[in-house]
C-alpha cells in the first residue's frame, strides 16, 4: 500500500510539473533558502550545518559567526573568507580552521543570498532576526570595489563577534607572536603566528601557547558610559603597554616581574574607544594585569583575566617523517630556507640536506630529525615548513653555478651568465642514497652526497663532465653565501658561520675566493671528467 501511495503522489507531482513547466524556472519565484543551501553550500557545511566530514569544515550550526550583525555573514558570502579562523564545534570550543571559502557574490543573486542566509541563520538551533534584501544590496554596494577575499582577522576587526555582552572589552582579538625580545618590539612590523577571539573580553595570555619567547597584542573596543578622565593601571612580567584611541597611556618597560605597575590617565568620551595592549615575555614567569577606574565607578574594573594555568601549547598537527632503518627519506614539498623545487634528503643516522633543483646546489644541512609533514599534509597544506631537526645551516640562497668575469664581480641572483641550467633528476644507490644529475650549459654534472655519521658531516663529490670542444671559462661554484667565511686552520678549509666547516679538494691550483659572506670556488676545467670534493662538517 505504501508503495502505491508513494507512486500516486509522484504522478500528482508530475502532473503539476507538466501543467505548469514555466513555474519551475521562473526567476521571479521566491527563492527557496533550503534548496539553495543544499545546492551551493551543503557540500562543505553539511546538510545538518555541522560542517562536512564530521566537522572537518566549519560548522554553521550554533556558530557565533552568524550572531549579531548580519553584515558579517553577508560579507563572507559576498567576498569569501580565508586564513585562520576559530569556530567552536561540539568537540572543540576553540577549533581552528585554515581553509578557503570562495566568494559567492559573483555567483549568487541578492535574493538568493537573502534566502540562504535566512535559512542558515534560523536552522539547526540558530535564532537570528531575518535579514532583508536591502541589507544585502547595501553591503554589496558598500564593498563593490573589493576584489580580495576577507582574511578572518580583518573581518572580525570590522565586524566583531560579541558573544558575551557583559564582556568588558568588545570584539577583543588577540594575536600571538613568536620571538625573543628584551624590549617591547614594534609589533606592526611582525607577522602574528596565531590570532584568537577573546570571547570573555579580557586581556589574557591563556592563548599564548607558550611560556617564554612570545609576544601578544590585544585589540578591541572599550564601552565608555560617561565622559571624563579615566585611569589605567598596568602591571606585567615582562613588558607591556596600553594604547587607547591610538595614544600611549602607560607602559611597563623592559624585563622584570610583576609589581612594577604603572598608571596613566586619558580623557574619554561616551561611546566606544579603541583599546590596544601589547605584551612580551622573554623567559621565567609570565603575567599581565590591567584595571580601569573612571567617573561613576565605585571600584577599579579589571580588564584582565586570571593568571592562566600552565596550559600546553596548542599543538600544530605533527606528522614526523623519518628515514627507514638503514635507508633514506625524501621530501619534495615546500621546504623553508630553500627554493620551491627543493629536495629534502634524510639519512638514517640524523644527517639531512636540502638540494635545490632550481639553484642546483646544496642549500640546507641539518642534524637529527628529518622533517614534519604536519603542515603540508593537513587541510590544504599552505606555506613552507622548515626542517624538523637541529643545527640547521643555510649554505646558499642563490644559483650555485655562474661565471664571474673578475674576482670582484657580483654573484647574480639570476645565475650569472649561465644560459642553461637543467635539473635531470636523481638515481638511488645503496641504502637509497641519491646521486643528483644536472646540466650547467653543456656540462654534465653528477653530485653525490655521502653522510659521515662519525665525523658529523657530509662528503660531497661533484663530477663535471666537460665535452672535448668547450671547456668553459670563468665558471665558479658558489659554496656559501650569507654566512661569515673565515679560513680555518687546515689548508683549503673554511669556517662558514659559527658551526660549519668546509674543506675543498679540487685538482686546481686556484684558491677559493673569500668575499663578504661568500665562499666561491673558481673552476679550472679540462675536457673529460673533473672532480671536486667538498667535506662539510659541524664543529
Amino acid at each position: 500500500m505504501l508503495i502505491s501511495k508513494h507512486c500516486h503522489l509522484r504522478h500528482l507531482a508530475l502532473l503539476f510539473i507538466l501543467s505548469s513547466p514555466s513555474l519551475l524556472f521562473s526567476p521571479s519565484l521566491a527563492e527557496d533558502g533550503k534548496a539553495l543551501y543544499t545546492l551551493y553550500c551543503s557540500a562543505c557545511h553539511a546538510p545538518d550545518g555541522k560542517g562536512a566530514n564530521n566537522g572537518a569544515f566549519p560548522p554553521l550550526a550554533k556558530s557565533p559567526w552568524l550572531g549579531g550583525t548580519a553584515d558579517r555573514s553577508i560579507q563572507i558570502v559576498l567576498h569569501g573568507l580565508q586564513g585562520e579562523i576559530e569556530v567552536p564545534t561540539d568537540k572543540d570550543p576553540h577549533k581552528i580552521y585554515n581553509l578557503v571559502m570562495p566568494p559567492q557574490g559573483g555567483a549568487l543573486t541578492d535574493p538568493q543570498i537573502v534566502a540562504i542566509l535566512n535559512y542558515v541563520r534560523n536552522s539547526w538551533g540558530n535564532k537570528n532576526k531575518p535579514i532583508l534584501l536591502n541589507e544585502v544590496v547595501k553591503n554589496r554596494r558598500a564593498t563593490a570595489a573589493r576584489t580580495s577575499m576577507w582574511q578572518g582577522k580583518e573581518l572580525l576587526k570590522k565586524y566583531p563577534i560579541q558573544s558575551n555582552t557583559s564582556a568588558p572589552i568588545m570584539g577583543l582579538i588577540s594575536e600571538v607572536y613568536h620571538g625573543s625580545w628584551k624590549t617591547r618590539p614594534d609589533f606592526s612590523k611582525l607577522d602574528p603566528d596565531a590570532t584568537y577571539e577573546e570571547h570573555k573580553g579580557l586581556i589574557s595570555i591563556a592563548n599564548a601557547g607558550k611560556l617564554k619567547s612570545f609576544g601578544m597584542v590585544w585589540e578591541g573596543q572599550l564601552p565608555i558610559t560617561k565622559n571624563g578622565k579615566y585611569t589605567f593601571t598596568l602591571d606585567s612580567d615582562d613588558g607591556s603597554a596600553i594604547y587607547i584611541n591610538d595614544k600611549l597611556v602607560t607602559e611597563v618597560k623592559g624585563l622584570g616581574g610583576m609589581g612594577r605597575a604603572k598608571s596613566g590617565q586619558i580623557n574619554l568620551n561616551k561611546g566606544l574607544s579603541d583599546i590596544r595592549v601589547e605584551y612580551f615575555e622573554f623567559s621565567g614567569e609570565e603575567a599581565i594585569s590591567l584595571t580601569m577606574q573612571g567617573p561613576g565607578m565605585k571600584s577599579p574594573l579589571s580588564l584582565s583575566g586570571t593568571k592562566p594555568k600552565k596550559k600546553k601549547a596548542r599543538k600544530k598537527p605533527s606528522i614526523p617523517i623519518d628515514p627507514p632503518k638503514n635507508g633514506t627519506a625524501f621530501y619534495r614539498g615546500f621546504i623553508e630556507g630553500s627554493t620551491p623545487r627543493a629536495i629534502g634528503v634524510g639519512y638514517d643516522g640524523g644527517i639531512n640536506l636540502a638540494f635545490s633543483a632550481d639553484h642546483l646546489g646544496f642549500e640546507l644541512l641539518w642534524q637529527e630529525r628529518f622533517y614534519d609533514g604536519g603542515r603540508h599534509w593537513t587541510a590544504r597544506g599552505q606555506g613552507n615548513e622548515p626542517p624538523a631537526g637541529k643545527n640547521i645551516v643555510k649554505l646558499t640562497s642563490l644559483p650555485a653555478w655562474g661565471t664571474l668575469n673578475s674576482p670582484t664581480a657580483k654573484w647574480q641572483s639570476d645565475g650569472t651568465g649561465i644560459t642553461k641550467r637543467r635539473f635531470r633528476g636523481y638515481q638511488l644507490g645503496e641504502n637509497d642514497r641519491p646521486t643528483f644529475n644536472y646540466e650547467v650549459g653543456s656540462l654534465k654534472v653528477s653530485d653525490v652526497p655521502v653522510p659521515e655519521f662519525d665525523a658529523k658531516g657530509i662528503t660531497r663529490t661533484i663530477t663535471i663532465d666537460v665535452p672535448s670542444s668547450s671547456a668553459p671559462k670563468n665558471l665558479h661554484l658558489l659554496i656559501c653565501n650569507g654566512l661569515d667565511v673565515q679560513e680555518a686552520d687546515s689548508p683549503n678549509a673554511y669556517l662558514l658561520g659559527k658551526t660549519m666547516q668546509v674543506e675543498i679538494e679540487a685538482n686546481s691550483s686556484v684558491p677559493a675566493l673569500v668575499r663578504n659572506k661568500e665562499l666561491i670556488l673558481p673552476l679550472q676545467l679540462k675536457p673529460g671528467k673533473n672532480q671536486i670534493t667538498l667535506r662539510y662538517q659541524w664543529k
Binding site: S4, H8, A43, N53
Partner: protein
Amino acid sequence: MRSLLLTIALLTPLFAAPTQEEFYLREEIPLPEGEVMEIGSIALMPEQKVAVTTRRGDLWICEGAYQDDLSKVKWTLAHRGLHEPLGMFYQDGSLVLTQRPEVSKLTDTDNDGKIDSFETISADWGINGDYHEYAFGSPADKDGNVWVVLCLTGSFNANSAWRGWCVRVTPDGEMIPTCSGIRSPGGIGFNADGDTFYTDNQGVWNGSSSLKWLKPGSFQGNPTGNIFYPNQSDIKPLANQPNDKSRITTERERIPQFIPPAVVLPHGKVGQSPTAVIHDHTSGKFGPFSDQVLVGEQTHSEVQRVFTEKIKGVYQGAVIKCLSGFRAGIIPMRLSDDGTLFVGGSNRGWASRGGKPFTFERVRWTGKTPFEILEMRAKPDGFILTFTEAVDPDSIKPESFSMAAWTYIYQSKYGSPEVDQATPSIKSVKVSPDGKSVRLYIDGLVKGHVHHLISNGVKSANGGELWHRDAYYTLNEIPD
C-alpha cells in the same frame, strides 16, 4: 484534461525506479593498513598491476585489483617523496608522472619493486611555494607528448611562469606553450578522437565549471595568464583582451582564438568541482557509452557522462549524470581495456559528499543496459535524442519533455548566477521507425546557452523509466 491525465497515469504499469546497482557494481578496494592513501593519480600497468600516487607523495603498486576477491589485493610501496603528483601513465617499463614541479620518468631499473631512477623530463614552468599552483598531466598523446595544465597562483594570479597555461612536454623534454586561459583545472585527458580536454572549476572568468577543449593555440577564457604570450613565439597574442561582465558568445566575436567551454557542467546542479577526464575506449565492455567522455566530480563524489559533437568547428554537447555514491571526492580515474573503471579520491581541504578522507574504488558494468539518453545532438530547429533502448512511442509527446535555458555572466568576479533565462518550447516530437531516436522540434533555442532538458514522461518500450532524466546541452553553435 487534468483528470484524464491523472487517470492515464494511474493506469500506467508501475515500475520501480532504476538504481545504479542494477547496471554498475561499485566496490571499494582495500588499502594498505595505516596508510593515508589520498589518491591523486592512477596508472594501469602490465600484468594487471595498478600504480597509484598519493597527495602526500607516495607511490604504491597494487596487485589483485582486477580479481573477483578484493580481499586478496597486495600493495607494494615503490617510493615515498614525490611532490603532489596529479597525472601518471605507464610507458615502456617506466611510470611517467606529472608532479607539481615537473614531468618525471620513474623506473625500477633493478626490478626490486622500488623506484631507483627519477629522470626529470621537464621542469620549465614556474612554482613559487603557493599550494594552489597545481599541475595536472595527461597520458601521452599520439606524438608521445604529455599535456600539462597549470593552475593559477592561488587560483587567481599568474605569479609564476606559465601559470594559466596548458603546455605540452615532448618526449625529449621540450616544453611547448599550447593554450592560455586556464584557471583551476581538475583533470586532463583525451576524447575518442584524440583531442585533449580538461576540466576547469567555477571561479573568476568561469561562471560555471566546464569541460574544455584544448585546441592548440586557443584561449580558454581566463585572461590572467595572457601576460605570458610575449614569452613564446608560436602562438599569436590575442587581438583583444576580453571585456568584463560580458557573455562568452559576445567575446568570441571579438577574440577569434576563444574556444568556448565544450560542455558546461552547471554549478550546483551537476557538480561543484569537476576533475578527471577519460573516455570509454572499451567498445562496450563498460556498458553502452562507447567513445563518450567520463568526468569525475570531486564535491559530489560522482562520475558524469558527456556526449560531444563538433558543430561549426567547436565541440559542444550534453552532460548527463552517471555514477554516484563514491566514498570520497573523486580526483583521478582510469578505465582498463577490460572495462574496469578505477577511481581514486580525497576530500582533504575540499569537502565532498562521500564522507571518507580517501578512497580507491572500482566499477564494473553488470551487463544490464540502463534505459538512458545515449546521445543528444543539436539540430537547427531542436535536438535529436538517441536512447539505449527503443522508447514506448505512446510516451513520446511534447509534454513528456520540458526545457529551460540560461547562460552565465563572463566576468572577473568569482562565478556567476544563471542569467538570461529562456524557456524554449517543445512544439512537436517524432519517434524514429526503430523507436531508438526521438526528434524534438523546438522554438526558442538560444545560441551560447545551456539547454536543460528534462525527460519526465519518457518510457522505454518495456515500460521502464529513464535512469537519469536530466541532460544539460551547451549550445555553442546552432547547426545550419
